[in-house]
Every structure is written in structure tokens, then in C-alpha cells.
């Protein structure tokens, strides 16, 4: 499971970086989204991977999952969601005002 999660985070981050370096605003927004997915998974995995463990006290628990990364990832998801919404609106505004969707607002053939 560790290898799978690590590969997923790596692939997401790589796709995110590649897309964020593109010259059009839509791939850039997608890239930022992928990056934030990667970091959310990464934060979650930092509490160590476990299956079926309660995060808070339970009578018959054999062990506990770390609740702190779960709280962190919730905060990060909320913030990332708000920022993505903002950057989408900004990209649309730029498309409307600059007349094209190039990140520098330039016309290209």
C-alpha cells in the first residue's frame, strides 16, 4: 500500500508540475489542482497508513490512526478548494479582458 500511495502522489505531482508550466490558463489551473491533490494525499499519508483504526478513543481498539493529519488535510482541502475557485474566476476574467487564454495575454499563432 505504501508503494501504491507513493506512486500516486508522485504521478499526481509530476502531472501537476507539467501542467502548471503550460502556456494556457486552463492547463495551469488543472496543474494547480493536481498539485493540491498530491499534497493532500501526502499530508494524509504523513500520519502513517492504517486500515480500520479509530482516530479517537474507542473501547476495543487495537491501535489508533493519527487524527492530526486528518484535521490538517481537511483544512488544506478547504483552502485549496477556495483558491482553485478564485483562480478559475481570475482565469475567466483574464480570458475576457485580454482576449485570449495565454498566461501572458499574448496572441499566438
Amino acid at each position: 500500500m505504501e508503494l501504491l500511495i507513493a506512486l500516486v502522489i508522485g504521478v499526481l505531482a509530476a502531472c501537476g508540475v507539467y501542467l502548471a508550466l503550460r502556456a494556457r490558463t486552463f492547463p495551469v489551473v488543472l496543474g494547480l489542482t493536481f498539485l493540491s491533490y498530491a499534497v493532500n494525499l501526502f499530508l494524509f499519508a504523513m500520519g502513517r497508513l492504517s486500515v480500520g483504526q479509530p482516530p479517537v478513543i474507542a473501547a476495543k481498539a487495537s491501535g489508533y490512526a493519527d487524527p492530526v493529519p486528518q484535521a490538517l488535510v481537511l483544512t488544506a482541502i478547504v483552502i485549496g478548494f477556495a483558491m482553485t475557485a478564485f483562480v478559475i474566476v481570475l482565469a475567466l476574467k483574464a480570458r475576457a479582458e485580454l482576449g485570449n487564454d495565454h498566461v501572458d495575454g499574448k496572441h499566438e499563432p
Binding site: A20, A45, M46, G47, T75, M83
Partner: protein, 506 residues
């Protein structure tokens, strides 16, 4: 436990929410409430600074959860110093904004207060993840403020600013996550303890996370490889906004200083002096690059933006020396450069408005109305930004150079700082003579401007420059205070003990 430590965070937050409720039709009311909030914040900052001036630390555990389990706010000398600088700067930026620029779009005052909320929180928090949250708050407010008023160029530079900062936030989370995964805590004092005690097999992970953190703060501070977002963003934002943004790069510098002294200081075991090989060379290169940019600029606002980059460079040169005198010199230089660059941005806007179609292009243009006042202020601002005697910039630079003598790289520091100062001087002198001496007299007499309107417009600039003058006159006590701050920073065990023992009842 005194509750005053959280007041600078709560006040702008409440003020921002109330201002949202006020709606956009009550501008006079909004201006009054916003100004009142900033005045009270100034009072709070000064009161907290007086409270901690004897060297004790105020630790406020939210919800009375003891550290390291809960989030703590910590007021030490450095935090109080930064709060006071922010409040002074906000006061004058707001004075300029209520001259009419706040009416160019909705919710200026709410965004302004939320920006202050984020700034104050970032200076006060003692928790790394909480620092991330406050960074996000101040960033999302700054996105709104940057785009305030609209326009094509503002939208384009805003898009770059937002994208770069979102990637920075992602990297911040990676660094925080890695530190938590290795060390199991996010409280900065507890992190410092755990880093010092980290076993050698974890050292590479801790060092990688620490350097990632440094890269994020360098992005916020506009350090050399990461400063390219700044000139466009600052050159196109409206004047009061960019005056407030003069503190934004200093948040990055503050975070570098805090993390460097607390978590990666001399006693941090495997990660000790982690940033030392990077900080000073990068800061020197930033200083040169900023001054070269100022020299090559073809617009006054762009030049002012490059001077911000250079000022971050000279600030981090002082911090990068790593000694108590160096950090003290940097801390004295910090308010000076914040106020001086803010004044320069406000002045650039005032000049650009009076040059008709020429705007702020650095070419001989028509004579500026009110040239006597604006030219005189430009001279003072240039002396301040160029760190010439007799103003406080010179004191700061002199202290930096004197502290540099004890550093092994002192010839490099001397050479770069003095050369950069010379380049900056040439750039500013050329700008001044272009704008005011080589102006083309108009064919018709300039309509005399109403003296009272001009006076109200330049009042915030005069205020900011007078603050610089105050820094010069109070240089003795203030350098003593910054020296005490630097001593406190270089004894992280004081901070650690106060947080881990003082945060509520166990």
C-alpha cells in the same frame, strides 16, 4: 493568562466581517470603522511592545490547550516589533486609500482588514501549520487587493501572482507534512526540541523539509531565483495597496529569521545552521539584481518595485550574517525600508497622475503640477531609499557593514553592498533629474492645483517619511531595542521554555 495577545488577530477579523455587513453604500462609515480599527491595532501593538520590552514572552494557548497539543500565539520582542511596523504602515496606506482609491471597487476596507488579520496572525503564531493558514489568509486578501480597481495589466500580473503563490502554498504544505511525518509535531518550539534530538537517519528528511520551507519563505520574500513575480505585480497595483504590500515581502523575511533562529540555529543537531550557506549569497545576489533592475527600469513604479527587491536583499544580508549585531542591524533597517519604499510607491503614483499621457514612463515629459512639493519629497524619499546620510537608512546600512566585519565573507558583503548602493543612487538620481529637471515646460500655464487637495494627497507620504526621520532621531534607543531582540532570538531556549512550560495548565 492575559488575553491581550490575541487581540491584534481578532480585531481586524471582526472589523473585516462587520465591514462586509455594512455593504458598499456606506463608504464614509466604512472608512471611519476601518481607520478606527487600524488606530486601535496601533495602540495594541505599542502596548504589547511595551509589555514584552523587558524580555518576557507572552504565550497565549488557544482554548487553553497546552502546547504542543494546542495552537499557541507567542508575543516576543520580534513579533511586537513587526506588529508595530505593520500598524504604522497600514495607517498611512489607509490614509491614502480614503482619498478615493477605495471607491474603485467593492469591499476594499474588508479586504484591507483581512490582510491585516493575516499579517498579524503570521507574526504572532507559534505553530507551523497555523502559519500556513495565516499566509493563506493574507494571500487571498492580497489577491483581492491586487486586483482592486481592475484593468487589463492588473489582471495579467494578478494571474501570475496568484499562480506563483498557489505553487508556493503547495510547497509549504509538502514541507509541513514532511516535518510532521518525521517529527510528529507542528508547534515551532516543540519542533525545535525534536529537530535537535532527531536521530541521524532522519537528518536528511529534516534538512530537505527545512530547505523546502526556506524556498517557500524565499518566494514570499522575493529572494533571488524567486523574485520575478514581484516587479510586475507591484508595478500594476493601486498606490495604497502597494504601499501596504511593502510589508508583504517582510513577512517572508520574518519567517526566514524566525525559523532559522528557532529551529535551525546553532544547537539544532543534525540540521544546525541549515540555511547559513544559502542565505547570505542569495541575499547579496538579490541586492545586486534588484539594483540592476532599478537601473534598467523604464517606468517609475517598476523602478520602485525593483527597489523593494533590493531592500529585501539588503535586509537578508543583515540577517544572513547570523550574528547578534547583524540581526539587530537588519531589524533596525526593516521598518526604515518598509516606510521608505511605501512612500516611494505613493509618490510615484502622485507623480504619474500629474504627467498626463506620459504616466510614470521615465522619459522627459511635461512639468509636473506641484513639482516643488513632489520633487522635494522625491529627493527625501530617494535619500531614504538610497540609504544616504542623514536618514535612518544610512544608520541601518552602517550597522550592517560594521556587523559584516566579523563575518568571514566580509570583503564580498562590503563590495556588493557598496556597489549596489552606488547603482541605486545613480538610478534614483537619473530618475529625479528626468522627472523634474528635464521636464518640458508646457505651452499654456499649468492650472494651479488646489493647495489643500495636494496637501491631503501628500500627507501620508510626509507621514511615512517623518516616521523615517523619527527612526533616525530615536536611533539610540531603537538600536538598543533591536539588539535586545536579536539577543532574544539567538537564545531559542527562552522561547522553547516559555511555550512548552507556559502554555496553560497541564
Amino acid at each position: 493568562m492575559s488575553h491581550w495577545a490575541i487581540a491584534p488577530v481578532l480585531l481586524p477579523w471582526l472589523a473585516g466581517i462587520l465591514l462586509l455587513l455594512a455593504g458598499r453604500n456606506h463608504l464614509a462609515w466604512q472608512r471611519g470603522a476601518s481607520a478606527l480599527s487600524v488606530f486601535v491595532q496601533l495602540g495594541l501593538a505599542l502596548a504589547l511592545a511595551a509589555e514584552v520590552s523587558e524580555g518576557e514572552l507572552l504565550v497565549y494557548a488557544l482554548g487553553n490547550w497546552p502546547a504542543p497539543f494546542g495552537i499557541v500565539l507567542v508575543v516576543d520582542r520580534l513579533a511586537a516589533w513587526m506588529l508595530a511596523i505593520t500598524a504604522f504602515l497600514a495607517l498611512f496606506a489607509l490614509l491614502r486609500a480614503i482619498r478615493g482609491e477605495d471607491a474603485a471597487g467593492a469591499h476594499f476596507h474588508s479586504l484591507f482588514q483581512f490582510q491585516l488579520f493575516g499579517l498579524n496572525g503570521a507574526f504572532l503564531t507559534g505553530d507551523l501549520f497555523n502559519l500556513f493558514v495565516f499566509f493563506e489568509i493574507l494571500l487571498i486578501a492580497s489577491y483581492g487587493l491586487l486586483l482592486h480597481g481592475g484593468g487589463r495589466r492588473r489582471t495579467r500580473s494578478g494571474l501570475h501572482f496568484v499562480t506563483v503563490n498557489l505553487i508556493g502554498s503547495t510547497l509549504f504544505l509538502f514541507a509541513v507534512g514532511a516535518l510532521y511525518g518525521v517529527l510528529g509535531t507542528l508547534n515551532m518550539a516543540d519542533l525545535a526540541v525534536k529537530i535537535a534530538a532527531a536521530p541521524p537517519e532522519n537528518a536528511p528528511l529534516v534538512r530537505a523539509a527545512g530547505l523546502l520551507l526556506f524556498a517557500v519563505f524565499a518566494l514570499k520574500a522575493a529572494l533571488l531565483p524567486f523574485y520575478l513575480w514581484l516587479p510586475a505585480a507591484y508595478a500594476h497595483a493601486s498606490a495604497p495597496v502597494v504601499a501596504l504590500f511593502a510589508i508583504m515581502t517582510k513577512v517572508g523575511a520574518y519567517s526566514i529569521l524566525r525559523v532559522d533562529c528557532l529551529m535551525f540555529g546553532a544547537r539544532a543537531g543534525a540540521a544546525s545552521r541549515l540555511l547559513e550557506p544559502w542565505l547570505l549569497p542569495l541575499a547579496l545576489a538579490t541586492l545586486l539584481a534588484g539594483m540592476a533592475g532599478a537601473m534598467a527600469s523604464r517606468h517609475l513604479r517598476q523602478q520602485a518595485a525593483y527597489l523593494v527587491v533590493a531592500s529585501v536583499g539588503s535586509l537578508l544580508v543583515a540577517f544572513g550574517l547570523g550574528s547578534a549585531p547583524g540581526i539587530a542591524a537588519g531589524l533596525y533597517y526593516l521598518p526604515h525600508t518598509t516606510f521608505a519604499t511605501a512612500a516611494l510607491f505613493l509618490l510615484a503614483d502622485s507623480i504619474a497622475r500629474r504627467r498626463g499621457e506620459m504616466g510614470d514612463r521615465l522619459e522627459p515629459g511635461p512639468t509636473v503640477a506641484g513639482a516643488a512639493w513632489l520633487g522635494g519629497l522625491f529627493l527625501v524619499a530617494a535619500v531614504a531609499v538610497g540609504a544616504l546620510p542623514p536618514l535612518s537608512g544610512f544608520v541601518g546600512k552602517f550597522l550592517t557593514l560594521r556587523a559584516a566585519l566579523a563575518h568571514p565573507l566580509w570583503p564580498w558583503v562590503m563590495a556588493v553592498v557598496l556597489l549596489a548602493g552606488l547603482i541605486g543612487l545613480i538610478a534614483l538620481a537619473r530618475t529625479g533629474s528626468l522627472l523634474f529637471y528635464r521636464a518640458i515646460p508646457p505651452e499654456n500655464a499649468i492650472a494651479p492645483e488646489q493647495a489643500s487637495a495636494l496637501a491631503r494627497e501628500i500627507a501620508p507620504i510626509v507621514g511615512l517619511l517623518l516616521l523615517g526621520l523619527g527612526l533616525t532621531f530615536a536611533a539610540g534607543p531603537l538600536t538598543d531595542a533591536t539588539r535586545a531582540t536579536a539577543d532574544q532570538l539567538l537564545q531559542p531556549q527562552l522561547y522553547i521554555r516559555a511555550v512548552l512550560k507556559g502554555g496553560g495548565t497541564p
